[in-house]
């Protein structure tokens, strides 16, 4: 049953996920429109985009819960179209909604998902305890899943996805609505998982609409309208806008924004509470800073600070989607 294993085992760089030109449409809605994806062992890959960009559909295609209209997917050497059960046995999947049984206890849930994935009665208990220890739920094994806090539910989901020691972990918006402290913990777990088992080569694909979360991935793909519009490491993506983002603080903000927008070298000015973020043309930041300072002074407005700041992924995303519109 493992015809592809030979080529897979002997390749030097293990590419656990190999998806080629995926298409999936629901009626007229092209949810996934030509997505290609390679994820190497030991990599945390972020699919970043808004609701409806195609992240969840892409995840479901990868795990074989949806059939693509076109394209090929190979997971850990198994063709998802032909060997879906074998492919799935290598995947741990955490869906967007909390999908544990709320009327079962923590341990009953883990046991159920362990056994259903084929773990024998002697294997599941030590394995489950180990994983519950890892995610910090060992003390709550007899609690009904419905009575867990949001963060603990998330960890239970992660534990049940990990109990069979998958090589590929698919996490669909795992930290939506959870406490930043829990979110921090959750990420520490994911990073440890990949780092711990570097030799074995675990990969994680995580989808998120949040840019701050995207910045924690090794590599991100920005999704929009079913397509991956850019793909690179967060720091490489950010360098595209190095020295092009300015932060302007002062009052009144509205007048300051007017002045900024009128400057020929300012491409965009966005208000952020008590400050403005300006995107300037390449190599123009010093000129713009000097010019704006002078103008603000001449109009007797109050300038608190105007400085260059490191670009964020959000700035990059906005630049890319604008570019895409043209």
């Amino acid at each position: 049953m493992k015809p592809n294993d030979l080529t897979f085992e002997h390749s030097n760089v293990q590419t656990l996920v190999h998806a080629q030109n995926l298409h999936k449409h629901f009626g007229n809605n092209h949810a996934v429109d030509g997505v290609s994806l390679q994820v190497k062992a030991g990599e945390i890959y972020g699919l970043v985009g808004s609701d409806g960009a195609g992240k969840t559909t892409t995840m479901r295609l990868l795990v074989g819960a949806l059939l693509p209209n076109a394209g090929e997917i190979n997971i850990c050497g198994y063709d998802v179209a032909k060997q879906v059960e074998m492919a799935r046995s290598t995947i741990g999947y955490l869906s967007q909604r909390f999908s544990m049984y709320e009327d079962l206890t923590v341990l009953e849930n883990i046991r159920f998902f362990a056994e259903i994935r084929g773990l024998s009665s002697s294997e599941w208990l030590p394995r489950s305890m180990e994983i519950l220890e890892f995610v910090g739920l060992a003390k709550f094994i007899d609690r009904r899943a419905g009575l867990l806090s949001g963060g603990m539910k998330q960890k239970l989901g992660l534990a049940s996805a990990l109990v069979t020691r998958p090589r590929l972990l698919l996490l669909d918006e795992p930290t939506t609505g959870v406490d930043p402290v829990t979110r921090q913990d959750f990420w520490q777990l994911v990073v440890k998982l990949v780092a711990n088992r570097e030799g074995e080569g675990v990969s994680v694909i995580i989808s998120t609409p949040y840019m701050d979360e995207a910045s924690r991935c090794h590599r991100v793909g920005f999704m929009k309208a079913g397509k991956i519009i850019a793909e690179d490491s967060p720091s490489n993506l950010r360098t595209r806008l190095n020295n092009r983002i300015l932060e302007l603080r002062g009052t009144p903000l509205k007048s300051l924004k007017q002045i900024a927008i009128q400057d020929e070298d300012v491409e965009e000015a966005a208000a952020f509470g008590d400050k403005l973020h300006l995107r300037v043309k390449e190599g123009k930041s010093n000129i713009v800073i000097a010019r704006l300072q002078k103008q603000i002074e001449s109009q007797n407005l109050n300038l608190i600070s105007l400085r260059e700041i490191p670009p964020t992924l959000e700035d990059v995303f906005i630049l890319l989607t604008e570019f895409n519109h043209d």
Binding site: L66, M86, S95, S99, Y101, D103, L104, I116, G118
Partner: protein, 375 residues
């Protein structure tokens, strides 16, 4: 065929079932409630018909006629009246169903051999009306025969016997107790209703809560998932079947004449159809409500066209033809025959074959539709 993956689903279903007291109550208590409701209330036996009498003769002869009606066990003489208006009022208000009018010259007319009495019937309830009508005729005829015989013996002739006499023997249910008819029917109804509803909602609930997604992405195979989800409901259905048989037997005195093995076997065949319908509904419905409605659209017509309430023979020809497409129809024949008549397999052969075909076809269709995918 049976593996640990299926077992883990079965165990999970049972744990959930026992933690959900409402569903469990629905599954265990409803059959008993239905049984008592239908065993007592839905009886179609007509007894104790209330009767008004206007005896204008008041002779020994007229009193003999009234005794004959009393003896027939179908009538209770509740009212003696003195005018047409009086019995009319009683019938209109429903206090009396029938009125018997004995003319003033009844005793003389009997002796002359041309007596006439008037029987007024409330025909608004057809079953009471027709029972009253036929019973009244029978009472009248046998009373007339008796008088003829008496007169003959008085006149010194040898006792007269009627030229033809129909002797009736009622088999299986000598008292014509309708509980006998109803209780096997309740088994069929429960196996059909509870099983389809529970199966359909059990699967749709996983879709509603999003847990189906987590199940789908495991390497479990479709047939394992189906079997694991259905088995608990098969077990539950058999528990219910025996629950009804036991209560039916010990409380209502319904006989269990056929072999238990045959009852289990045929019930299993019928269950395949019910489970299949439930599974099919779960592939159509997105919410538990939709699932309930979908199975009801199947269950209600199938109950009315199966011969559960009304005899099939009484239905219009076209509906009788439709009834051949309803698995419950065959099962009712089978379960009534097994419980009441104690027949063997040969007697119900064709029904059993029909059940098997329905079960296999519906189940296959449902399993084919039930794909382990989200689209």
């Amino acid at each position: 065929m049976f593996n640990s993956r299926i077992f883990s689903i079965v165990r999970k279903e049972f744990v959930q079932l026992f933690r959900d007291p409402r569903t469990l109550a629905l599954a265990v208590v409803i059959p008993i409630v239905q049984l008592f409701l239908l065993g007592y209330a839905a009886t179609s036996d007509v007894r104790n018909i209330s009767m008004a009498v206007w005896d204008q003769n008041k002779s020994p002869q007229s009193r003999q006629l009234l005794d004959a009606f009393r003896a027939a066990d179908y009538f209770v003489i509740d009212h003696f009246v003195g005018s047409t208006e009086e019995y009319q009022k009683l019938i209109e208000s429903g206090s009396a169903r029938v009125a018997l009018v004995i003319p003033p010259d009844y005793d003389r007319a009997v002796l002359q051999g041309n007596a006439q009495v008037l029987m007024v019937l409330d025909g608004s309830d057809a079953s009471i009306g027709s029972t009253a009508l036929s019973t009244a005729r029978l009472v009248g005829q046998s009373f007339a025969t008796k008088i003829l015989a008496e007169q003959a013996s008085i006149n010194g002739r040898s006792a007269l016997t009627p030229p033809v006499e129909v002797r009736t023997q009622v088999w299986y249910n000598p008292d014509l107790d309708s509980a006998y008819f109803m209780i096997p029917g309740v088994i069929g109804m429960i196996l059909s209703f509870i099983t389809t509803i529970l199966t359909a909602t059990a699967i749709v609930r996983e879709r509603e809560r999003g847990t189906i997604e987590q199940l789908i992405v495991t390497p479990i195979r479709s047939w394992e998932l189906i079997l694991g989800k259905l088995l608990p409901y098969v077990i539950l259905a058999f528990v219910e079947t025996f629950e009804i048989i036991i209560v039916g037997h010990f409380w209502f005195g319904v006989p269990v004449r056929g072999s238990l093995a045959l009852i289990v076997f045929t019930s299993g065949l019928f269950l395949m159809s019910s489970l299949g319908i439930g599974l099919l509904a779960s592939t159509i419905a997105n919410t538990q409500q939709e699932a309930m409605l979908t199975v009801m659209m199947y269950n209600l017509p199938s109950l009315f066209l199966s011969g559960f309430f009304f005899p099939l023979e009484a239905m219009p020809q076209a509906l009788q033809v439709v009834s051949y497409a309803i698995p419950l129809r065959y099962y009712l024949v089978v379960i009534r025959a097994l419980l009441l008549k104690g027949v063997g397999l040969e007697a119900i052969q064709s029904e059993v074959i029909a059940l098997a075909i329905f079960g296999i076809v519906i189940m296959t269709a449902a399993a084919l539709r039930f794909r382990k995918r989200l689209d």
